[in-house]
């Protein structure tokens, strides 16, 4: 039996209350494409971070060529030939394509001056290999490149000599079908060259098409490791979720009330002519690829991005926010995508985080009433069953699911008419996810108008009453839930992408 290029043995890693990895063992072999699947928060990214030397496992070890190694830094991992291509490529906008590819490995003439000729030659070779020599030139600055092209640069960067294990973290999430196929050709060639490949994706069909083997993770554990031939899509989903997906949602008819939120031709710097209405008791889904402009619609609604043209109304009243404070005052709540950066004060207590949006309910003449504050916060925290030792606990110490419940509790305390949810279950484990889904459904039952932005298809299809699909800053189509399938959404999300690409590249 041949020795795997890289293997992990019994690796565990814990962050605060969250067991991110639980005794995980996987081997990655020469010339083999191993798919790694699992829901968000299942531990895939943490495993990648361990492999690239960002995180040190609490226990267990990593072996390269059968020898235990200390991947104490990204540099050490890089030296061992392990390269991870991230979903959000780190491209330095002010540098050229060639410089971005070869950063850290730029040859100098006489030890001082940039050897531009050498740089150009080497990058042209790569650009030709990838068949993108017509859209990217070595001397071009990376400022304003499309996500797909940035990703490509990141891949070329990783392909520098010495790569033994290449991991792709959802590489196709922002690629068109054509671009994805081109990427697959590259990956197959890498495989033929004897590189071990890890391929992380939510697109199961791609995995069946591309991978040799599939490792499934759930709640930090490896729950399956099987040859791809032994799996089909349904089985993969069941392994990832731990139960049939349909159980997570309870679809029922809700009586719709009056229009709570209306957008008409809303245009900002990043979205174009967005029109839709959301009624009381309705969940409107916003689907589309990463970067299609869904979050930007939310930003426009809450007053983060100024309106260039178009109109909005809340509860029938004209609404033109200049600041998020206007949105809060008008009865709009936002559950942002990034909990740590946008939603919660991680260092501060659950109590502070919940009462932040209801100063009027916990104070008199501007002075706090601690008693009222504690009572109010405790009530909402208990109602949403936030697992915390006390409302004085720092929010950062809670698990992702409980953090998200704190964000919901905050808006529950305020009682908004419209709630915008941007990737509400990102980084949350499966159990908590189901709870969040039930919560969203009950909020709609109570008559809230809900806008749901999600990249997770089952969630979008399972919760939304209708799905608006976005592409390149516009709404490219609308599907009632009865017609919304993964295929239908993707078809709209990728429709006539050529034009979009040309626009983005130019």
């Amino acid at each position: 039996m041949t020795v795997p290029v890289v293997s992990v043995e019994g690796v565990s890693k814990r962050f605060g209350a969250v067991q991110a990895l639980r005794d995980v063992s996987v081997a990655f072999n020469v010339g083999e494409i191993t798919a790694l699947i699992g829901e968000n928060g299942a531990g895939k990214s943490t495993l990648m971070r361990v492999l690239e030397g960002e995180h040190r496992p609490d226990s267990g070890r990593v072996l390269v060529d059968g020898q235990p190694v200390q991947l104490s830094s990204p540099r050490a991992a890089h030296g061992s030939g392990i390269r991870v291509i991230h979903q959000e490529p780190e491209i330095i906008p002010e540098l050229t394509v060639a410089e971005n590819i070869f950063i850290g490995d730029i040859k100098a003439r006489g030890g001082i001056f940039l050897d531009r000729a050498d740089l150009e030659r080497r990058s042209l070779d790569l650009l030709r290999t990838f068949g993108v020599v017509d859209v990217l030139s070595p001397g071009q600055r990376c400022h304003g490149l499309s996500p797909a092209l940035r990703q490509l640069i990141e891949i070329m960067r990783a392909l520098r000599p010495g790569a033994r294990l290449l991991a792709f973290d959802e590489p196709t999430s922002s690629l068109t079908e054509d671009e994805a196929q081109r990427l697959f050709r590259v990956i197959r060639r890498l495989k033929a060259d004897g590189v071990a490949v890890i391929y992380i994706s939510h697109r199961l069909r791609e995995i069946i098409e591309l991978a040799d083997r599939c490792v499934v993770m759930r709640d930090g554990s490896r729950v399956a490791d099987e040859p791809i031939a032994a799996l089909d899509e349904q089985r993969m989903v069941r392994l990832m979720v731990g139960r049939p997906v349909s159980d997570l949602f309870n679809r029922k008819e809700r009586a719709l009330g009056p229009v709570r939120l209306a957008l008409e031709g809303v245009t900002t710097r990043r979205v174009d002519g967005i029109s839709f209405e959301v009624r009381a008791g309705e969940i409107v889904g916003l689907g589309g690829l990463v970067g299609a402009g869904r979050t930007e619609v939310a930003r426009a609604i809450v007053g983060l991005d100024p309106l260039l043209s178009g109109r909005m109304a809340v509860g029938g009243q004209p609404y033109r926010p200049r600041e998020p404070a206007d949105a809060v005052a008008a009865g709009i709540g936002l559950v942002p995508e990034d909990r740590k950066q946008e939603a919660l004060l991680f260092m501060q207590a659950v109590r502070d985080n919940v009462s932040l949006v209801v100063p009027d309910k916990v104070s008199r003449y501007g002075f706090f009433s601690r008693r009222r504050e504690r009572a109010l916060v405790a009530r909402h925290v208990a109602e949403l069953r936030v697992k915390t030792p006390s409302i004085e606990q720092a929010v950062g110490k809670l698990s992702g699911g409980n953090q998200q419940k704190v964000v919901f509790a905050r808006w529950q305390a305020r009682g908004p008419a419209v709630l915008i949810l941007d990737e509400p279950t990102r980084g949350i484990d499966v159990g908590a996810k189901a709870e969040i889904y039930r919560l969203i459904e009950s909020l709609a039952d109570q008559g809230l108008a809900i806008v749901l932005i999600s990249s997770e298809m089952p969630e979008l299809l399972g919760l939304a009453d209708r799905v608006l699909v976005m592409q390149s800053g516009r709404i490219s189509g609308e599907l009632p839930w009865q017609e919304a399938s993964e295929e239908a959404v993707l078809a709209l999300a990728m429709r006539s992408d050529k034009k979009a690409i040309e626009r983005r590249v130019s």
């Binding site: 404070a325 939603a343 207590a349």
Partner: protein
Amino acid sequence: MTDTATAGRERAPASLFGRIGAQNISLLIALVVLLAIFGVLRPDVFFTPRNLINIGLAVTILGILAMAQTVVIVSGGLDISVGSIVGLSTMVLAVAAQETGSIPAGILAGLLAGLLAGAVNGLIIVYGPVNAVIATLGTMSAFRGLAYLMNNGNSIPITGDSLRALGIGTLFGLPFAIWLLIAAMAAFIVFTRETVVGRNIYALGGNPTVARLAGIPIRRYQISIYAMSGFAAAVAGLVLASRTMSGQPASGSQGLELEAITAAILGGCALQGGKGTIIGAMLGVLIIGVLNNGMILTSVPTFYQLLAKGALLILAVIVQERQRARSGE
């Protein structure tokens, strides 16, 4: 769900302003050590009531500035123009008192000048937008220049018994200025701990994006915070003017920003914002005050005093960064 929080068994409210404990205890220890050292070196003078009141008077100006600076730093900013605003406000006070012949009018003008100067800082920072350090570095020079311009670089004597009374008057054996400091301290403590606005400032400094999305009008907050800082500097200027009976463009106010920032950071303010307490800052102020007084009593030359104060600021930041690294924040 057994571990779900319920209203019945909450601990006392603490966390946001909590952890007052550990850091302040180490500051208290440092203060006691300093007192012991100077007490031993100058047993004849150091612990006399007169000297202790001297220390109290010396820290009045610094204390007011350090508390305001604490609020600014907690909000995620920094104001290094406060020393210049102190100087400027004394000059405005002197000129206005001279022109109108009325001390109250002069005081009012001085306070207004400080408020205005602070608001200018806030407007530059918010609408420039300009980084707070750079904006107030610029106005530190500009306001000082303005103060010099008002009388060609010279000080202006002020005559008026009401101002003198303010400077030398006492109540229950303590100078007015010390009472002013105590009142300011009470106001700042209540403001930061018990009011919605105060708490929102911690949120703003902790994460401006979160604060903004939660509906806090952060621009208005920032402008008001710098205006408050400018006003506090003018109050400090009033104390200075009442003691020197003059408008002083530079003397007595230069270098105050360094001491105020040092005190705030000694007291546990995180330069990243979102963390810091008034009590901590006041302990920092006392440490600096005792150090200044002790170094004078033990005849340490001025130049060494400057060296020591600079080193203290850097040391305070190093200690804080180490703690931060250790607690893994």
